[in-house]
Structures are given as structure tokens and as C-alpha cells.
Subunit: 435 residues, 2 copies
Amino acid sequence: MDDIFSKNEPFIIENVFFNDRNADIFIGGDGRIGSIGPGTAKKCSGDAAFSIDGKGALVLPGLVNTHTHAAMTLLRGYADDMPLQEWLADKIWPLEANLTGKDVYLGTKLACLEMIRSGTTAFNDMYFFMEDAARAVDEMGIRATLAYGFIDLFSEEKREHEIKATENMVKTIRAMNNPGIQPALGPHAIYTVSPEGLKWIAGYSAGEDLPIHIHLSETEKEVNDAVSQWKKRPAEILDECGVLGDRTIAAHCCWLNREECALLGKRGVHVSHNPVSNMKLAVNRAMPYHWLKEEGVNVCLGTDGCASNNNLDLFEEMKVAALLQKFSWNSQTLLPAGEALHMATTAGARALGLGTGSLTAGSPADLILVSRHTACNTPFHNPVSNLVYSCNGGAVETVVCNGRVLMHERVIPGEEKILAEASEAAFDLVKRTTQ
Amino acid sequence: MDDIFSKNEPFIIENVFFNDRNADIFIGGDGRIGSIGPGTAKKCSGDAAFSIDGKGALVLPGLVNTHTHAAMTLLRGYADDMPLQEWLADKIWPLEANLTGKDVYLGTKLACLEMIRSGTTAFNDMYFFMEDAARAVDEMGIRATLAYGFIDLFSEEKREHEIKATENMVKTIRAMNNPGIQPALGPHAIYTVSPEGLKWIAGYSAGEDLPIHIHLSETEKEVNDAVSQWKKRPAEILDECGVLGDRTIAAHCCWLNREECALLGKRGVHVSHNPVSNMKLAVNRAMPYHWLKEEGVNVCLGTDGCASNNNLDLFEEMKVAALLQKFSWNSQTLLPAGEALHMATTAGARALGLGTGSLTAGSPADLILVSRHTACNTPFHNPVSNLVYSCNGGAVETVVCNGRVLMHERVIPGEEKILAEASEAAFDLVKRTTQ
């Protein structure tokens, strides 16, 4: 089986379930879907270097994780169930202070492995040592939008440092020349980045056409502090600094009021909903999906980092999103399964500007096969309901990204080594920190 | 490998991770743990008919699902995201009106399969055609407490019918003579069973030493209707009818007030928390775990039926329970991982009076192996956190119930046939109903 992985050759996936009937997919050597539908295998077999058996699996676009801190996989389970400030100050920050580029490389490899296993083919990351993260992504073969976490703490000296670090990262990633990896700007949040820093980000983004990835209104404290200090709400502050536009992905957005939702809609901002993290950290309000939807905002889905989730399974995130919206806003019909699936696929791809997220001839071959021979897809009354409410990432059998097979029948080449090395790096990190 | 399944022979599981070190387990032909700890394999190898390799997996007690309607697997995905009354009246009830004993048999087999695959070795069921459910459970080899859903709708005629149906079920199940299957009484709820019916249940339970399985305070409407009609809250009504005692498992309990929590504590009632179902159906209040805990109530975990979940994975339920309690009651420290795991194992076993739920020599061999060679257990800072927050049921490799191997390396004999037959039964059921 080893010879099917990560090749730049045309191939066929036979026998999948697509648009309510059996179909095949021909994937060209250019990484795009050449043809999809009944009879494709017969028609294209002469052009294919190899073919794999889809076994009747559901095919859908690869999922897109629009907010995470990938290398935080190394912190998975290190600290939970603590008051937020204590958790950050006593546990998370001391560990992060000891992170090395190698840690981020190994943690990001583990994250990519986990995402591939659960059907994610692209992610939006914000962290440190992003050149090392990029190397990991490049080796793993999925797509990523990578931002250095820009934090100036309102100091001019720090700001100069962060600007240089950001510019260097952009240069390095562009030089890699991997079309699946794009640099982005990562101003952390209004309470960690000065207005001057935010304005620089806005200008640099416009000049270089770079996406912006930011945390917005995660906690009530963020809103209250902003209002008491600046007499403005968080989204207004960002807007004044020019940070809100259709290149921007704002994560969390739990405490937006109605006017802020309208503002985000007007500016074309994409919102990443992170329900698991928001519940685990008890932020006490769910993102107002109904308002954002009314304002036409493109709402997508993210897992956040493994310290506050503690996994990267977007299937789980779809379900919890649909549950949390219903429970929190007291509506049995809010965020139905189809909308949750849309958030994790098409909306995420749109937010990152990937051109993926739909399965048509000519679009990039980023797709996953979900087994139908499982309890979670039995019975098969409604595949979309099953995907969102019944299955988890373990039902994903095969993953193709940019026309390359990354997982087939749940096998990913090199998995054992990735697990072993990440495990060792995590233990060393704790040892260095607590000694 | 086929020859290791469901045998009544002594065997050894070598190389598991138990109490922070490597260990082996010897399981006797009586279905009990003979010995567990380092060196057990060497010591007991002469007495074992066969041995299996645990591959360093975490071993823990089999999970216990304390509230479900197993055969509702057939309705998985049939209807979701609808207003409650419409969902019940237009979708669920018409299908249930056409259910046959064979449907319940096949749906319960699918449910058992799904539970085994996700590490559940015992469940508490309430539904119809329970003799057929019992046959399915017997064939699948897990433990179950089975109650016929007693619904008299305040009619004497119906009550007589339900009493007979209940007595017949108890007789039939006792005659099966399977110590893993126990009959129970299933008065549906205060709004579907008359006080006379509840009193009969209480008396029959006391006389025959039978568990009681009931829905309690799932919705605000249940409370408001009770208060306006009877001037009493739901738990008070049950108490007056003698239904509250240490044989009773009350499911949901979302809308209990402080006094009702104290009453349940005083009576020794076990409470089954069903967070996924409660969120999906937007009941608008989470079970008050903090009050129940203060009152010393044994709180356990249940998935509810597949129409309102839509799976039976207790790993997912543990996570959502820990998330919902934190989010809903605004506390980052409420229901930590260790307590969630306790709810799904020891507390569940205690609620059903099984004698399982701990791994010590002499206790029944109901145990599961969770792989450590997975992303969800990498790194391994904290196994309990990983089990609750990171893993799902797919990390379960091997399941032993009552000393018999039911799944090994994710293989369950006969799986394909169970899936195919349940699938066919579900489609037939819809066809019969909607024609």
C-alpha cells in the first residue's frame, strides 16, 4: 500500500457515495479533481497511475480548522479544570516560556497527524517558531495558514521586535514556495497588542495581501476592560485600527453584542466558532450564531489549541457547536446539522481563501472518505445528521489533500515515529520547566 | 483470533498499564479477576487457556450507560433539529407505533455492538418488546438492566395492561437465567404515569427487589405542569408515591431545585446525567451537579436514546458532561476529569448494583483496554484527562465483560451481519410508517 502515498500522479478513487449515488473520482497529477460521478473510473482508467477502492464510503470536502495553536498538542492534558488565571500563570505560560523551535516542529507534526486522522485537510494556526511549524506542515502534506502570535504588550520596544519577527516569518514561508502553506498575521488580541501594533498589522496586511488571525471577545472581562479603559467595545477598537476586513478571521466572538455582529457583517470578517474551548474555559456565553447569521457573517469552526479542548477533532466540534447553540440560545432548531457541516467545510475554506470546500471538476482535490460500514452510519436515514451527530473523526478512512493520499484505510506512513518523538519532546519540556 | 471470543476459559491479558505501571491480568473461568499486577502473567500462565497482548494499553473498568433506549438506534438520524413537540408527534411516535419485536431485537443488537466498540459493558434500558431486547443482549454478551416503559396515561384500563406487561417481562427475563441481565421497572415519568401506577411500581419494586428507572425533571414544562396541577414539584410527587429509594435511577434531573436535590440525597436515589440529549433538545438548564454532589447523591452518566444524541459513546458523554457543567454553572473547576470518569464507571456500576466498576482480584472481569499508541493519548501527561477530554470510544481496543472477550483489536465477530440487518430493519420501519 506504501506506494500510493503522497505521489504527484493521477489516480482514481472507485466506488464512493456522492450526491446520493455511487460514483468514482479521477484526481489529476495537478492535484485537482478531474472528474467526479458515475462511470468516471471506466472513463478515466487509462490516465490513472493507480486506483484505490472507496468501499462505498461517503465522500466530502476535507474539513477546515479555522482556529488552533497546533503545537499545543504537547500540552495536552498537562493542566485542566483550574481557574483560568491560575491555569495560565502557573501551568501554561511557564511551559510555553521553555518551548523551542524543535518542540513546535514536533508538536505541529503530531497536530497534523491528528487532524489528518480526523479528516481535516487545512488549518489556521497562530503560535511561535512558525518557520518550524511550516516545516512540519510541509512534511505532512496538509494546508496551513500560519501566523506568528504578535504580542507587544503596549511596549514600543516589544512592538519593533514583533514586527521584525512577523516580517521574517512571512519572508521565510514565502521562500518555501509551497502553495499549500500561506503566511498570515497574528495580532493576539486587543488586550495584548497596542493600537499602534494593530494599525501596523492592518497596513502590512493590506500592502502584502495577508490574512489576519485574531482572538476577539472570548471573555466578558475583555469586553468590560475595553469599555472601562477605552469607552469602546472590542470590535469597535479593531475597526478603528483598520483590522476588520474580509481577510480577517476572528476567533471565539462569544461576547459580541448585536451592533458588533452587524459591524463584522459589514466588513466581511470571518468568525471562527470554538465551542469546546469556550465551554471548557467557562466563558459563560456562546457565540451569538443567530445574530451573525442574520448579518450574513461567514461563520466557520475551530478547535482552539489542545490545552483547552483537548483534541483537534472537527467532527466533535461540529456536534458540540450544534448542541451548544441549541442549549445556550434555547432553540431546538438553531444550527441544524447541515449548517454545522457547512461551517466545517465550505465556510472554513472560504475564510482561508483556499478554493477548496466543494467537490467539482477543476477544484483542488482536498477530500475525505467516511466509512458507511460503521455503527455511526447505521442506519443511513440521513448522512448529514450522521456526520454531525453520530460519527467522530474515527470514521474517516481516507484523506486526500491537494491530490495526494495522506491516509488510506486509517494508515498514515510514519505515524509511530511522530507519536514517539512528540511524546519525548513533551516530557522533556515539562522536565525542563519544573526542575 | 476467532478462538478467543466469548469463551468461559481462564486467560491472561499481558502488558497493560495499571496504577501507573506495567501489569498483567489473570481472568478466571468464573468470569472474575483472579489477579492483577506486575508479574501476574508469569505467576498464572500455567492456569490460562490462552493469553492476549495488551500492548501497553490503559486498563479501566468497563463503562456503564445508566440511561438509554437501546433500540432507538434504528431511528438514528431519522429526524433532528425540530421543535420538540413536532419532532415527537410527527416523526418519533409514528415510527415507534410501527415497531415490532424483531425491530427491537435488531436495534438492540446494533446498540450493543456500538456500546462494545466504545467501551461500555453494561447499560440501563427502558423501551418496548424487552423480551426481544433481552435476547439481543444475551447474544452480545454485555450486561443490561431492562425495563418495560410503563405508560398508563392516567387510564385504569391501560394501567392494568401495563402491569401485566411489566409482570410478564420480569418473569421472562428471570427465566432466561442470565446473571448479566436483570429486569427492572420503567415508569416513564410523572406526566405519563398515574399516581396509582407509580404506587403499584413502588410496591412491586419493594416486594420483588427490582430497580426502578424513570425520567425526572427533564424539562421546565414538566415542573410547571406539576406545580400548577398538583401544587407539588416532580420529585415530591414521586416521593409521595414511594418511588424514591436506593433502587431508583432518575434520568435527566435538569430542573431539580435545591430541596429536591436534598430529597434525592436523603432517599439514596441515583441520578443519571444525560448532557448531550439535554443540549440537543434544548432543555435550557443543566442538571445541578454541584447541589447533587453536596447532597451526596450518586451521579452517573447516560447517553439517552439515539434519536436525541445520536450515538452511544460514553467517552463523548464524559467530555460533554464536564464541558456542560463548567459552561452552564460558570465554573472552570466544576466536574473535573476524574469525577467524569468516576460517573461513567464506579458510580454507574453502583447505581445498577453490579459489583463491577473496580479492578481488584475477586471482582467481575468487566474491563476495557484503551490504546496508548494514539494521538489522543500522546503525550501521556495525565491519562485521566486524556480519557475524558481527548479520546473518544474509538480508542478502545479490547473489551472484556463477565470474563469473556467481546472485542479484541477492534474486531467483534459478526459485526457486518448486525449492521446489515439493523440497516434493513430501519428502512423497512420507515417504509411501513410513511407509506
